[in-house]
Amino acid sequence: MGKIKVASIWCEGCSGCHMSFLDMDERLVELINKGLEINATPITDLKVPDEDTDVGIIEGAVATNHHEEEVKMMRERCKFIVALGDCAVFGGIPTMRNYFSKEELLERGYITTESTVEGKIPTSEEIGKHLPKTKAVNEVIKVDFYIPGCPPSADAIYYVLREVLEGRVPKLEGELLKYE
């Protein structure tokens, strides 16, 4: 049982899946004791995972060109990619915007929202640009394992990481496989 280096990123999602990850509570310590090494994640606030990362966990759908780059970087640097949560697996709630044009979307988000007084669509070059369509991660890169759920239960995440740590291929079934 060797060490397993895990990294995660957070694309177009609500961070609920990372909350579920933290929801493993003391089982997280158990996993670390078993050899889990947490590398670049939104939790550790490191942006770029090491090149020899074993498991890359992706939360959220791919909505902008930034997400696309990050996801591709994960694929290059990680041996095993896990799509975590409905947005990464299916596209999820962010794909609701696929029914509208980009212009409608930005206007609704930044100008006509009820709580907005004088709205302005941000134009900074540093902000990611929306892709024509919000996509599930497997439409951009090859995904090795899927954990659906909104959010997936801490039990499901724990089960998958434990199986990987113990050198088995996980298989989600029963209560662990949920679409909602």
Partner: protein, 559 residues
Amino acid sequence: MEKIRIRVNGNEVEVSPDKTVLQVLKELGIHVPVLCHYEPLMPQGSCRICVIEDRGVLKTACTTPVEPNMDIKTDTPSVINSRKLVLKLLFSERNHYCMYCEVTGECELQDLGYEFGLDHFEFPTYERRFPVDNSHDFIMIDHNRCVLCRRCVRACSEIAGHYVLGEMERGIDTMIIADMNLPLGSSSCVSCGLCAQVCPTGTIIDKRASYLGRELQSDIIYSNCDLCPVGCGLEIYKKKGANFIIKIYGDWNSDVSYGVLCKVGRFLSLYDNKERVKGIRLKDEFGYRRIHEDDLLSLIKSKLNNAIAYVDGSLFNEELELIRELFKDKVYSIYPTESPIPTNINLKDLDNGSFFVVIGVDLNREYGTVGSFVKRNVIGKKAKLMVVDKGFNSLAKIADYVFNIKDLGLALDILKKEKEIIVIYKSLSKDEGKILESLSNARFLHLPLETNTVGLQKLRIKHDKVSAENVFIFGRNLEGIRDLPIENSFTLIFTPYENNQLYKGDVIVGVNDGFEREGTFYNLEGKKLRKEKVLKPAYDVIDLKTFLSYVLGKTEKVS
């Protein structure tokens, strides 16, 4: 019938030849997943989830009859892979993302996804946006969720007989439509709601039931509807630990309605917002004032001499019997109770009818379940229909013959030539009754005015207008007391709903109604049916049965 021998997963079995493969496998306890198949509907075999392998060929279990020498295999890789591929394709067509769907948690497509362990969409999705039809009062159709199983289309025609839903276009462009692609709200839909009951996904949704709770969170109570004399079987979903009903389904096992319901039974009973009579009110020189139940009891005891009772057909047998005991033969019905020609046919026999005569009643508007039985035979099985009415009747458009009631004599010539006819009527004049009784080939179904009219008949309670010193009135529908000679009487009214005739009462007592009440009644066929108590009364009202038995000294305490 002689049994045939087939092989199922390598084992020899003997089965009857008049069954489909799916039925046989079900009897053998072998699970076969289905989606478009729904037991009471004709099998169609369009979704291909139920495929099995027979001698190397994939066949749909739901539509394939068993035949000798079959070698059925249900778990070969080709069967599993075919089912899985179909499921993946179904999930990729339209929007089957569960998170923001109303039925998530009791969706048959979702269950199949779990069963086959689908953990992602293999094919790209979310390409097309389909319309959402929110034009109907009770039902919403979200075409984005549709899997085109046509259960709704089949239920609407085969079972409910309305023939409103259909489909247009082909393949991936197929759309479920109402009439000639009208919004459901402006179509000829009569709101029976069966389509929402059979829909496997979140496409056809009962608007009121949305987000109120899942089947797992409900107590399911089987009861009979007491809103008209048909007495359809209800499957009531009451939220566990709460005092409200999520939804009402038609009970497929009911031997009255066989799953059919009408707008009234499924929806209107839950949308009821009529003003209730609360507490006990006594009239004095200053108007009405609330009095206590004990005061009411002593008042009643002092008024029982020289008293008569008026009842309506909303009362259950138990209540009527107690009233009978209290007032002996001085009990009268507010409304007429007689059947001009006695009923001599069961609702079930309507399905064997070849010629229907409907007199003076629009079955799309009232007695909807009888309407479904007639329509599914007239439109679906080409039975003949004659409509006889005074004015507009929406059944006329599917009728073979339409007569004005004045010309009943002319219609008789046609009726005499038929082998067997079924006459369905609501009320008849004496002459009309005589004309129809002369038909030797006719069987009759009387649609009584009120729920328990037949119960009133059995207790020999007759419609009459009698006056007395003290008058007790019991009932839900009090429009009829307008004509009663009760001006100079001391009047006590026991009713659940406020009514503009209530000013005639010297004492007005609120009683429970609807799902707060239990009891038995006789439906139009004369079957004794039971209405179950589902909810606790949310108002300060009395239970008539408990109260009357207390007055009679049968029970100790009034709850």
